[in-house]
Symmetry: C2
C-alpha cells in the first residue's frame, strides 16, 4: 500500500474521522494493514486519534523541513546549492566529512531532522531531537592557509548571531569563541573541523546546531539552567527553512568579505556582538588557568586578555568561565 | 609445509646447493610443493638460483626491517614505543590517521616495507619500493593550537636533515618548506596532516619518506633528474633501523625543545640548513605568482620574501621554483 495515499485521505478531511471500512474500500487493503501503516506514520511524527467506532483522525503532522522551500529561498546563493537532506543520521558532521574526503564541493550542505549522535565541542554530546532544530554541516574549501582556520570559527558565530538577531529580535550575543547566548543561556553550537596537509587547508566542515523550536520538555532538567531555544525565549515557533536560508545568505556575504578584505572587518563585527569583553573571567587553557579581562580579538583569532598586572596576553585556545 | 623450515635448510648451508631430493626427504613434501614455496619466497624478495642437476641455492635474503633491532635502539624514547610494522600497505599515512581517530597515543609509529599507494604533497604519488626506503607515519598530539601546525612541518624537516647529515656526511639541505635535497635532488618527503576542532589540534600525522637504499633502476628515468637516494649519492647502503632510530631521537629532542621554548630555536636551526635563502625564486601561491628573494622564516612558519621593490611579504603557502 502506498503510505502517501493513506495520508492523503486524512489530509483531504482535516479534523475528521475516517473509518477503517472506508479506508479499506478506497485503498483495497485489510484493516490490519491499515493499522500497521498508521503505526509507521506515528513513528515518523504524525499524531492520530483512534476510535473503535469512528476510525482514525489525524491530529497533527510533523514539522518537516521542506528542501524545495529552502532551495527557493536560496536562489543565487552558492551555499545551499547542493543540499543533502536526511531524516535521521548519527551526525551531519560525519557525513559532511566523508563527503569532503570524496571531493564534495564548497557549499554542500547536510541537514537532518534528527541526530542520534550529535557532537559538540571536545567530544561532548549535542541534543538534536527530531524536527525541532537545525542540525546541519557544510563543506568549506577556503583558499586560506591552515593558520587562518580559527578566523572561520569566529566568522561563523558572527554570521549566525547577526542573522538570528535580525529574524527573531531576541537579545543574542557571542561568548568567545563561538557560543551564542540569550541572557547567558546557550542557543546554538558551532563546531568547525579542519583537515590540512602541511600548511594547506584541504577542507573545513562547519557544523551548526540551532535550538529553534525545542520546548522545555526536550531538555534534561539540569540543562535548562544553561540552554534555551528561540521558541522558549521568543515564545513563538519559527520556520526552520527561513532560519537556514537567512543564515546562509549572511554567511556567504561575510565569507566573501573575508576572502576579499581579510579578517579585520569580521573582528569589528564580532566585538560589537560579543558578551565576553570587559568582564573578569577565568580561562582554562591547555597550559593552565588564568584570570583576566578579555579586551578584544587579535587578527589571529586569539582573544586579548588583560591580566591583573596590566599586561596583555593573547589566548588561542581555552574554555571561558562565567564572569567572576 | 612450514616455509620457515625450508628457509632454514638454505640458511644452514650458506652459498651451497640443496637438492630437491634432500629437501623432499627432510620436510616430507613433494618436489612440486617445494617449487611453489620457492616461488613464494622469491615473491617476498629472496633470490634463488635453480639447477636441474644440483637443486636450489639461496643467493640473497631481502633487506627486512628488524623491529626488535629498532626497539633496542630506541630505548628511553617516547617516539617509537609503539611500532606497527607492515609488509605491504596502501599508505602508512592512512593507517596512522585511522589509528589516531581511534585514540592512538602520541609517538605511535607505522612503518611499512612497501607502500602501493604512497602519498606525497598535493595528492601526488610517492615511490615506495619494497625494502629499500623508510616509509613511515607517526601520530602526534601536540598541545599547541592549530595556528602552530605549520611550525611542526618545519621542525620535522630540521630534525630529519640534522640526523641524515650526521649519519651520512652528505651535503643535505632544506628547500622551503620541507623538502630535503642533495645537490638539488630530492632525498626525502615530509607530509604533515592535521585534524582540528575549532582552534584545537586533535592530532597531526607526520608522514616521512626517506629514499635510503634505492638504486637508479628503482626510479622512472625522468625522476632521476630530480630525485636521488642516500645510496646513489653516498655510494653505500645504510641500515634503515639506524636511520629511523637516529631521526626519532633527534625529532624527540627538537619537539621537546619546541614545546618548552617555542619556535624561535627551530627557526635558527632551519635557517642554518636552508638552501632556499638569498636566491631569487618564483613562488606559486593560491593568490597568484610572485618573484622575490626568501630572506628568513617568520614565527608563524611563513617565509619572508623580499620583493623587487624592496618590500617584505610573508608567504604562508606556495610551491617554490628553482632559483632563477
Amino acid at each position: 500500500m502506498n503510505q502517501e495515499l493513506l495520508l492523503q485521505l486524512f489530509i483531504d478531511k482535516p479534523g475528521e474521522y475516517v473509518s477503517g471500512e472506508n479506508i479499506s474500500q478506497e485503498l483495497g487493503v485489510s484493516r490490519t494493514a491499515i493499522w500497521k501503516h498508521i503505526r509507521k506514520l506515528e513513528a515518523a511524527g504524525y499524531q492520530f486519534e483512534a476510535s473503535r467506532r469512528l476510525g482514525y483522525r489525524l491530529l497533527s503532522i510533523p514539522d518537516m523541513l521542506s528542501v524545495v522551500k529552502l532551495e527557493n529561498q536560496l536562489q543565487g546563493n552558492i551555499f545551499g546549492q547542493h543540499i543533502h537532506y536526511f531524516e535521521t543520521v548519527e551526525s551531519t558532521q560525519n557525513l559532511a566529512r566523508a563527503a569532503a574526503e570524496e571531493g564534495a564541493l564548497e557549499g554542500t550542505l547536510f541537514v537532518a531532522e534528527q541526530q542520534v549522535k550529535g557532537r559538540g565541542r571536545m567530544g561532548r554530546g549535542w541534543i538534536s531531537p527530531r524536527g525541532k532544530g537545525i542540525w546541519m554541516s557544510m563543506v568549506l574549501r577556503p583558499s586560506v592557509p591552515i593558520h587562518f582556520a580559527p578566523q572561520l570559527t569566529l566568522l561563523t558565530a558572527v554570521a549566525l548571531c547577526r542573522s538570528l538577531k535580525r529574524l527573531t529580535g531576541l537579545p543574542i550575543g557571542i561568548k568567545w569563541p563561538n557560543d551564542l547566548l540569550i541572557e547567558g543561556k546557550k542557543i546554538s553550537g558551532i563546531l568547525l573541523e579542519s583537515a590540512a596537509e602541511d600548511e594547506r587547508l584541504r577542507y573545513v566542515i562547519a557544523g551548526i546546531g540551532i535550538s529553534v523550536n525545542l520546548e522545555e520538555a526536550d531538555y534534561p532538567a539540569e540543562l535548562l539552567e544553561k540552554a534555551t531555544s528561540l521558541r522558549i525565549s521568543g515564545q513563538q515557533k519559527w520556520s526552520r527553512e527561513e532560519v537556514i536560508a537567512d543564515f546562509l545568505k549572511e554567511w556567504e556575504q561575510l565569507y566573501f568579505l573575508y576572502q576579499e578584505q581579510g579578517f579585520s572587518p569580521i573582528v569589528t563585527l564580532w566585538e560589537a556582538l560579543s558578551v565576553s569583553l570587559g568582564k573578569t573571567v577565568r580561562l582554562t587553557t591547555p597550559q593552565g588557568e588564568l584570570v583576566g579581562i578579555p579586551i578584544g580579538l587579535e587578527e589571529s583569532g586569539a582573544i586579548r586578555i588583560q591580566l591583573e598586572d596590566g599586561s596583555i596576553k593573547p589566548v588561542f585556545s581555552a574554555e571561558m568561565g562565567e564572569p567572576l
